[in-house]
Amino acid sequence: MSFKTVERKPLTLAERTYIPQILGGMKTTFKHLVKPKETLEYPEARPAILPGYRGVPTLVMDPNGREKCVSCQLCEFVCPPKAIRIKPGEIAAESTNAHVEKAPEEFDIDMLRCIYCGLCQEVCPEEAIWLQNVFSVSGYSRDEMVNNKQRLYELGGTLPDQHFKWDKKKAAEEAGNDAH
């Protein structure tokens, strides 16, 4: 075994005074004092969420205030951690949306189970369920962590799309076959 002796250089005068090092440090400090801030004062300040972000799943209404979900239960089926629970229901005959026939009676998403995969949004044939920008959820009990139908619509709001598929269907139904 052989050893290599490393020669240690003696410190220069400047190094021994330590002043250049202190000035170098101060330069960095002052630079950051005047630079624009990189961080946010979370949770008071929150980052802007880009479109397409997969936050908490929500239910949405169409611009006419019709609930878009028809309780087809495809999202319940596709959801890998089985976070979604739906009780399908029939829309009352007196409702203006009676022609849509079906809407959820109950709709629960358990946020302790949800893995934010977005499969429910992908599978939904009615574009009724969207993972939106809420990314942090908390609660004091397990029950609080289950978003019910009312909460899901509060979180979801209105989807400003202009399909009006069901309105068109109703109009065609009313116009009858003579219209074409």
């Binding site: 309780s71 239960q73 319940e76 089926f77 079906k102 269907k169 065609a172 139904e173």
Partner: protein
């Protein structure tokens, strides 16, 4: 039993595969035998051929022969007889096989035909799948995926037709979804013999409707929902309740009458959502009565028993068994068995009667048969009580014989296995004179008067078997778990027999069947596990002398009628 004559076989070639099939088989069924699916809508094996959907198109040819000499024309390339292919497709449902016939179900022409037919079927079809109850078991969905072209070229406005029409108390019609196959019309006419449906208007405006002033209200109306290949006809009971892809299917038996129609129970997480018929060509074909489809509601009935009680207080099973045994040990015991109990339970009921040295009674239920799938005997398992030896003659329709015994003071304790004694004709005074042990599922005046009540399971919550009017042993399986508090009938009966010092088994199907094999000659070689799904016909000669109440029904002729025929 007389064996049916062996059918004459003919050899045909389907997609190059030779297969022997019974003469008279159509191409769809013949192809099924070689494992080939010929898509179809209007064809149904138990209905007449309509040939109107055109989905089952196939190519067909026969070996060629010289017209003048009848000499076969040979193909020099293959050295085989030349096939004369018909230059246009044929419908498979209305084409019966003939010897030597050649069939193509996979040719480019057929592929194009199917795409064309699918395209026409979908032209005016609504985009309703998300709200359509048929989704998941829809032939249109399946065949559009399997045989359709995959995209739509139709940009015009679709036809509109009546939606949400109530055809009858249990059936809802959406005409836009109807593919005009006419299965429902033919079923009503041919099987239910209640000709109420028909088409009006022509072409793409054709619309299914009820004849004016009529409604689809017969007790077989829900079979139209089963055979409708699409979501045009839906059941109002099942409507929007649950998606079929969540449901577990369990084979069961209809308990309405001694016909014993084969059924499937559809459940999810311990809740039953619907009951549909299961095909059994010897019993119910593919049909069942509407009245049998709502029987699952008894599972969650308000008067369902879930608490064991003894002498007016809640008790453990051990406590209740001990109390019941105490009552029975006094002697003068009668056992009321049930024609609704399974074969296994009736066998243990007989053992119980032997253990207490008491007489066994059975409550007869005779109504009117409808000649189809509801017979006069409304007990699903009267034959079981005969075969297991619980009874040796047909039961009376009420318990007046037992009432007389009570009045005479000869019966002091009654053990009822599921029978409501007051409904069976015992008066309140008579019930007050005896100590009652009730082992059953639902509360009644009898349970209110009973000293010991032990809740047990409904037919949906346990395994077992029934013997139907043909003496066909058929098994049913457990679809859902029983409610908390209810105990398997076999366990209860067995514990009680053991407490009374009788011949107990292990309180499970396997051990009961071991005893059945040993003690019942008709069942000597049967095992529960090997019982075929379509049932097993037993030797019934021992009971030929009894005059059963059943009249003629589907696939059943009473023995007397058979003898005179």
């Amino acid at each position: 039993m007389i064996q049916p004559a062996q059918p004459e076989l003919v050899t045909v070639t389907i997609d190059g595969k030779e297969v022997s099939v019974p003469k008279g088989t159509n191409v769809i069924e013949a192809a099924r035998l070689v494992g080939t699916d010929v898509p179809h809508y209007c064809y149904h094996p138990k209905l007449s051929i309509a040939g109107n959907c055109r989905m089952c198109l196939i190519e067909m040819g026969m070996p060629m022969a010289d017209r003048a000499t009848r000499e076969p024309i040979m193909d020099p390339e293959t050295g085989k007889q030349k096939i004369g292919w018909i230059p246009r497709p044929q419908i498979g449902c209305a084409t019966n096989v003939a010897p030597g016939m050649h069939i193509k179900t996979q040719s480019p022409l057929i592929k194009e035909c199917r795409e064309g037919v699918m395209e026409f079927l979908l032209i005016n079809h609504p985009l309703d799948c998300p709200i359509c109850d048929q989704a998941g078991e829809c032939k249109l969905q399946e065949q559009a995926t399997g045989y359709g072209r995959g995209y739509s070229r139709f940009i015009e406005q679709k036809n509109v037709k009546p939606k949400r029409t109530q055809l009858g108390p249990r059936v809802m019609l959406d005409d836009e979804r109807c593919v005009l196959c006419s299965r429902c019309i033919r079923f009503s006419k041919e099987v239910a013999k209640d000709d109420v449906l028909g088409f009006v208007d022509r072409g793409s405006y054709s619309t299914l409707t009820c004849y004016p002033g009529k409604e689809l209200a017969n007790n077989y109306s829900l079979n139209t929902v089963d055979i409708c290949p699409v979501g045009a006809l839906t059941s109002t009971d099942f409507r929007f309740k649950m998606r079929v892809w969540f449901l577990k299917q369990t084979n069961s038996i209809d308990t309405e009458s001694s016909v014993g129609a084969n059924t499937v129970v559809w459940s999810r997480e311990g809740v039953i959502y619907r009951i549909t018929p299961r095909r059994n060509d010897e019993v119910n074909d593919t049909w069942m009565a509407d009245s049998g489809r709502v029987l699952y509601k008894e599972v969650q009935a308000a008067n369902r028993l879930t608490a064991i009680s003894a002498n007016g207080a809640t008790a453990t099973l051990e406590g209740a068994i001990a109390a019941a045994a105490e009552l029975a040990k006094g002697g003068n015991v009668a056992v009321v068995g049930s024609g609704r109990s399974s074969v296994e339970e009736q066998f243990l009921t007989k053992k119980l009667a032997a253990a207490v040295d008491g007489e066994a009674f059975l409550v007869g239920r005779v109504g009117e048969g409808d000649g189809l799938l509801i017979s006069a005997d409304r007990n699903p398992n009267t034959r079981g009580a005969l075969v297991t030896g619980l009874i040796d003659k047909l039961p009376e329709s009420d318990l007046s014989a037992l009432g007389a015994e009570i009045d005479a003071g000869r019966v002091k304790t009654i053990i009822s296995v599921g029978e409501d004694l007051s409904a069976a004709g015992l008066s309140a005074e008579q019930l007050a004179k005896v100590a009652i042990v009730f082992i059953g599922t639902h509360g009644s005046d009898t349970t209110a008067a009973a000293k010991v009540v032990i809740p047990t399971l409904t037919v949906f919550e346990k395994n077992g078997s029934f013997i139907n009017q043909q003496f066909r042993l058929q098994k049913f399986a457990k679809a859902i778990p029983g409610p908390a508090g209810a105990i398997d009938d076999l366990v209860v009966l067995d514990e009680l027999i053991a407490a009374l010092g009788g011949e107990a088994t292990d309180g499970d199907l396997k051990s009961v069947w071991k005893s059945l094999n040993a003690e019942v000659s008709q069942l000597a070689n049967v095992t529960y596990a090997n019982l075929p799904a379509t049932g097993l016909l037993l030797d019934s000669s021992a009971w030929a002398g009894l005059s059963f109440p059943e009249g003629e029904s589907l696939h059943f002729k009473p023995a007397a009628a058979e003898a005179s025929a």
